[in-house]
Symmetry: C2
Subunit: 502 residues, 2 copies
Amino acid sequence: MNAQEAYEKLAARSKELTHLGSAVAVLGWDQRTQIPYKGHHTRAQVLATMAGIAHSKATDPAIGEWLSALDGSEFTKDSVSIEAVNYREWKRSFKRAVKIPHELAVELARATAEGQSVWERARPGNDWSTFAPYLEHIVSLKREEAEALGYENEPYDTLLDAYERAETASNLEPIFRKLNEALVKLLDRVAGSSRKPDPSLKRGNFPVQLQERFALDVARQLGYDLEAGRLDISAHPFTTGIGPGDVRITTRYDENYFNESFFAVIHETGHALYHQGLPLEHWGTPFCRPISLGVNESQSRMWENLVARSKEFWSHFYPEAQNRFQALSNVSLDDFYFSVNEVEPSLIRVEADEVTYNLHILLRFELEVLLLRKDLEVLDLPDAWNTKTKAYLKLMPPDYASGVMQDVHWSSGSIGYFPTYTLGNLYASQFFAQANKDLGNVTEQIRHGEFAPLLGWLREKIHSQGTRYLPRDLVRTVTGNDLDPTYFINYLEQKYSELYKI
Amino acid sequence: MNAQEAYEKLAARSKELTHLGSAVAVLGWDQRTQIPYKGHHTRAQVLATMAGIAHSKATDPAIGEWLSALDGSEFTKDSVSIEAVNYREWKRSFKRAVKIPHELAVELARATAEGQSVWERARPGNDWSTFAPYLEHIVSLKREEAEALGYENEPYDTLLDAYERAETASNLEPIFRKLNEALVKLLDRVAGSSRKPDPSLKRGNFPVQLQERFALDVARQLGYDLEAGRLDISAHPFTTGIGPGDVRITTRYDENYFNESFFAVIHETGHALYHQGLPLEHWGTPFCRPISLGVNESQSRMWENLVARSKEFWSHFYPEAQNRFQALSNVSLDDFYFSVNEVEPSLIRVEADEVTYNLHILLRFELEVLLLRKDLEVLDLPDAWNTKTKAYLKLMPPDYASGVMQDVHWSSGSIGYFPTYTLGNLYASQFFAQANKDLGNVTEQIRHGEFAPLLGWLREKIHSQGTRYLPRDLVRTVTGNDLDPTYFINYLEQKYSELYKI
């Protein structure tokens, strides 16, 4: 078989697997947003079967032969050509897939589909004892998966690598350390400030329908194509890229609190913009995918924080927000801006401000590493969680729901996922600084409601590049520099020094 | 391989195919109710891939070997044991599947997914010229399918057999003829009556939310478990059995007309009750399936017409309906009952009354037979449609939307499906007559809002029997008689003679 034929065979198989992935994405979206209460057991079985089919197709020995026919061929010469990128990704996926026993692949799919549903039901009732055995089972499967995949230093690394290519715990530690030091200092300075936003802004009346309409109108203005997307409600906001023409987001509402849903929608819109900007003509091959969760998160965090929590953004949108929400009619722009940027250690990660957010991640990252090392067991997780919360945030969760059970991730088997949130924050600041250089004054454009230049820049530099560059290479290619937490630290220090007059 | 092992292999494969079917059901439901406008093309590709995977798994030569190992074994002895029924169904499915070329299976899935979406968009704009080429392609694929499957007399028969086992066009013709004669006579007598329901009842104000709540409350009282189901909006109402714990229905609303959505919901509830009453512990094997569309339709039509269009039903529910809908407050029960049973030839099948309904089916059945014989081409369909509408209903469709484009079926490749509606009406009356015999006075129970006896009887005699009996055998087993249209004709004559005082 010549290289061209092998490439076409691989592309056809890749398309089939992508289509299966699209079907699984719909099943997953449905399970988080629409499924009737009693349908979860059936769905878990179906997802397990789908995972089994995908695993068989992904580990077909023919793939090994096709890859061999490509080794050293012209396709692999230019490392950033579309063909070479696809080859690189196919090879990696195959190598990983064949290491996973078939039964493990199937059971992981089943157990995590079930786990998420159990979590959804157990969390509101604070029911750790129901949830814990499911989580124990999932953690043991993930440990098994890590052993099967193999690793150099940490079993955690191979799980992390699934979400953030080429990242390792030991690579992350110095970054997290530097960041942590800076954040704790900044947090102390903020705590010393006498300024505080008006607390009444946290309890207004924001009818859910109006919230939805406003958030969607803003999302549309940022560039989210809603003829190719939709917004639903789920226990934990998420974005799912089902395929070209179909990228969906979710949120959750608090009728008395504007920030929760609005910033969740903008966050997910950031993800959706990335998915909608991928090189869709290559859909079905790995080239047409977000390169990593960290880069994906850089898009959501950029739109959520650097754009939508900026003064300029609200200079543009606040008059309309005041038109729509009675509760804002007597609140000044300055007060509102301050209130959406209040720094205050709190228990819930997804509601955390920009300064404390990464402390939530650090806590989870450290616990995950310990879990994978078997230096921590699920039954001891709640205590470990509370101890670290006390240490980093000086708070004590009053219950499981606002402590160890707050996130969906572990119930869905997504261990190694959390660090990508912090990486996303770092990438976002570094990218944004570069966009400012390249485009002139982006914040000024935002003040005028002009989001097309920034989106166009992201489309060109990041979205349309698909998986061409691994994350750290992408940062270097786009910004000319290595990943550097200083961008993020500087951004926070400047913003919050001004806000808290410190 | 011994028979036991072969049976287990077949059961495992069957489960896998059932799970794939469940995934496809979710994808289809999503496409009819949720998908964003631009997502249809992607979805059609995904469904094609899923069909390809299912076809490969269903035509695996190993299945032939497993079936051979079962031939003549103890499993096939008692023809109505669960094992023998599964064997019968596996054999039949395999025999049919291997006759369909792989490319045809894939293209049918793709083209019909696309066809439905094109129909959905073209119908409101009356856009036949956009839709026609898609329909032509689908009809040519269905002709190809019929040739591949083979047939004795009519190419139509093998397509019909996919929906209604062991039925043929020539079997149906005498039944349709007898029915048609009786209906035309009854229709003439009705036309001669001077009685007419108050026409103002067709234009009231029925807020959509109240309609939804009322219909769901009634559906729940009939026995639909809504923790294992849900109700959504679609262009054409349907029911989909995704699996145990997940049976969904849809409807569409007219804010000024109560009947359209209410009776659609009750109709679909009839289907849903059947699905929820299947022998779910056998899910994954063919035993746990509706035996045919005709039997399925007997359930929907029984609940919709024999139950929910009865005087007794409204004796029970009308006070509550009057409480909920201002528009009904000054309408007497008798007037309301008459208005939901008005006989009036009209253009739209799904809104047709019980007397004219089957004329709509006859028209479609005759056109389908001609299409499959190639005695009629898609481009000539609108004229043929109008000519037959004129002949049977004495009406002329003013446009395509209320004529040849009104139904979703052909766009989804469901040719051979329509006759099952009439069969459903016939089965329903015959079953209902038997239920009355077995249970005493069912209509009296309905007057007291007691639906559990009827549902229990259906569960025992029909739902829980899965595919044990082929449709006509089921009729014989349940009622002790062959299928006989007299039950239905008698029911109509009695009901409408009384109503129209003829």
